[in-house]
Symmetry: C2
Subunit: 373 residues, 2 copies
DNA sequence: CGACTTTGTGGTAGCGCTACCATGATGAGG
DNA sequence: CCTCATCATGGTAGCGCTACCACAAAGTCG
């Protein structure tokens, strides 16, 4: 069917063993035949169900291996029931964050054969209206990245309309909706601790967009780590940002202009950290030898610039993928009449050390770090 | 009513009752009923077949509109025939480029219900082996981003093995395989012309990775535009880069150190342009007032930094999506015995003007006091 | 030790759609 | 007029898989 009927190329070893099923990809029936059981049993093995004798299971697995069987997603989701459609609503996140985000969602949606609608709220500022229209259009679930994930009214709107909402990366879990997050507080705490461990004492902090709860949590982590280490917090070393590169430049400038400037700056995300590095360079400060700069999120930007940023790796892709899974599961349950519980999932973060941090230079531990390269 | 026979299975009963969530997407049968025709006719309309009376067609379309019917992809591809699997092979492209790339592919693959395998060659430097293994595993087509798209041996390997290869963004079209590209030469020509139009005469250029044919094409575009404008090309203003941020810094530094430095720098991609901006800032050069910096590709990095880069928008996502489509089409044709021709598709690029360019400052170009917008 | 549950397995019926063939209606040509 | 292509449409049979039920076999218990 898919190859010319003349000499078969080496595409897939065509097997005539089957009846008319001749040469296409092996099906569950082929596996069943090879394993001498029914297709149902094969299906059970594939789906990891319990009620299969170990002996049988092994035979099936061997057959799968031998035939290089791969389940047909299309058939799976067709048989599995109604097709789920999920909307990914985003408002105005940083570009690099968004792309990571989309990748995770797209990948998982593709894997599960879920139709993913990506919607910006920019064109439609009336969230309620937008959400209703989407639900009418058959959307069964919503994924909300920051900052939307912190907007309780949006969450409520969705649940009231009978759809499923999952917040990804909100400041903290709350309410009945699902959420996938990391421990923002602890992560910021750890990073600050790491910087302190390097020997820094005057550590600046750039706060993120105040609309997002995560910003506050990160700030708290910083504060607590400082206090924990017995370090005074100089409020002049805390600058407000917006999570954008531009705001990072402004904030970094302010910090660098302080009477007694910091020897390290911890920015609440990578965009602002990158801006801080740029601003430091502008002043002929070497990163990391004159000043340490750390970020948060580990978006691709962190490793596109130089020096590459030490940052907190937030598993954005995995988080989004999990969000898709959660919606899929909740949706199935809802079909059986069970009320979804609003699961919360906290994923691990990781401090990724790269080249933008170092111990404080002797020169700069004095107050006036006049630098040269 | 649908499924009105007595003793409908419990499944359907459940499904109908589970309708609390505005579930139960309309099917082709629902549309057929509304349009008073058979499902087959609806199918024909959806697939744009010819043999349908206009009258009927309109009725069907109206019904689709009314019911907000959306075809079920899973069912479609199940009924349609064998499932296609495509591998996206990448070697070592810039991170921002890759993510754009993936988005396009993932999106289109998801739309067409194609299974997409993303494979890095890093772990498996023997391409031939890798390709053969993938094909044995049922992969029917390959998408190749730079720099793999310029590697003729990889292309040949794939075609010899009987699979379909599509190069995305190669320097130039060649051979029998499919390709999706933009006119690299013309784009670089245009950008250089744009910079010249701003009044610049000493224009630096940062060349991309010499392994990629596109690098050379861009350089040619620059050269020709310069000559075309009667501007001398100072070889000291052409620096070699590698498409990485780091290499961009080194190249920019060299350019800025020239005895007679440029008033504008055109970097062969956004990563290197961003590095150039950073390097300029380091020297207290204002962008764009002291120096103009332009990039190429319009990856997200171009608009995450400040000032946002004037660059060439290469429709990477669309290009990749087209690549997926091309493979899907070729695959179908191959099934019918026709040999695929190796289509070439050239997509339009666009010069995106943002904030990193301006006319030369008076100080640095004493020759020509030109317009300043 | 028979009436129960609990397992492991097989059978069957579709999921929503399209390929393919069959049909009835039209018109063209003998 | 009747035969034969040529439409426009309908009917039917799956695509590969899973949900659900049936049913033996193997416990479990009073």
């Amino acid at each position: 069917m898919r190859m010319s009927e003349a000499g078969g190329t080496a595409k897939i070893g065509r097997k005539r063993s089957a009846r008319r099923n001749s040469n296409s990809a092996p099906t569950i029936a082929d596996v069943a035949r090879a394993a001498q059981c029914s297709p149902m049993t094969v299906s059970r093995v594939i789906n990891g169900e319990q009620n299969v004798r170990d002996n049988t299971r092994e035979q099936v697995l061997a057959a799968i291996e031998k035939l290089k069987y791969v389940p047909n997603r299309a058939a799976r989701s067709l048989a599995g029931g109604a097709q789920l459609r999920i909307a990914l609503l985003f408002d105005n996140p940083s570009a690099s964050y968004l792309s990571e985000f989309l990748m995770g969602a797209l990948e998982e949606a593709s894997r599960r054969d879920i139709y993913l609608v990506v919607q910006s709220t920019e064109t439609q500022p009336d969230y309620g209206e937008l959400i209703r229209r989407l639900i009418d259009g058959g959307i069964g679930g919503f994924i909300l990245p920051p900052p939307l994930c912190d907007d309780q009214s949006v969450l409520d709107e969705i649940e009231d309309a009978g759809a499923i909402a999952v917040a990804v990366g909100p400041g903290r879990a709350s309410g009945s909706h699902g959420a996938v997050l990391i421990d923002e507080f602890q992560a910021a705490f750890d990073m600050t601790g790491h910087i302190i461990g390097l020997g820094h004492e005057r550590i600046g902090f750039i706060v993120g967009n105040p609309e997002q709860v995560a910003s506050e949590r990160r700030l708290q982590g910083y504060r607590e780590a400082m206090e924990n280490a017995g370090l005074a917090i100089d409020e002049a070393l805390i600058a407000q940002g917006q999570f954008t590169y531009r705001s990072g430049m402004v904030a970094a400038e302010r910090l660098l202009n302080a009477k007694s400037p910091p020897t390290a700056i911890f920015a609440s995300n990578d965009d602002m950290a990158a801006a801080t590095v740029a601003m430091a360079h502008r002043r002929h400060l070497d990163v990391p030898n004159d000043i340490t700069v750390c970020g948060f999120d580990d978006t691709e930007l962190a490793s596109s610039i130089w020096p590459e940023l030490t940052t907190i790796r937030q598993p954005i892709r995995e988080m989004t993928a999990q969000a898709v899974s959660m919606i899929a599961k909740a949706y199935k349950k809802a079909g059986r009449g069970k009320e979804s519980a609003g699961e919360q999932l906290t994923l691990p973060y990781k401090l990724v050390r790269r080249n933008s941090d170092a111990g404080p230079s002797l020169a700069s531990s004095f107050n006036k770090p006049e630098s040269r390269e």
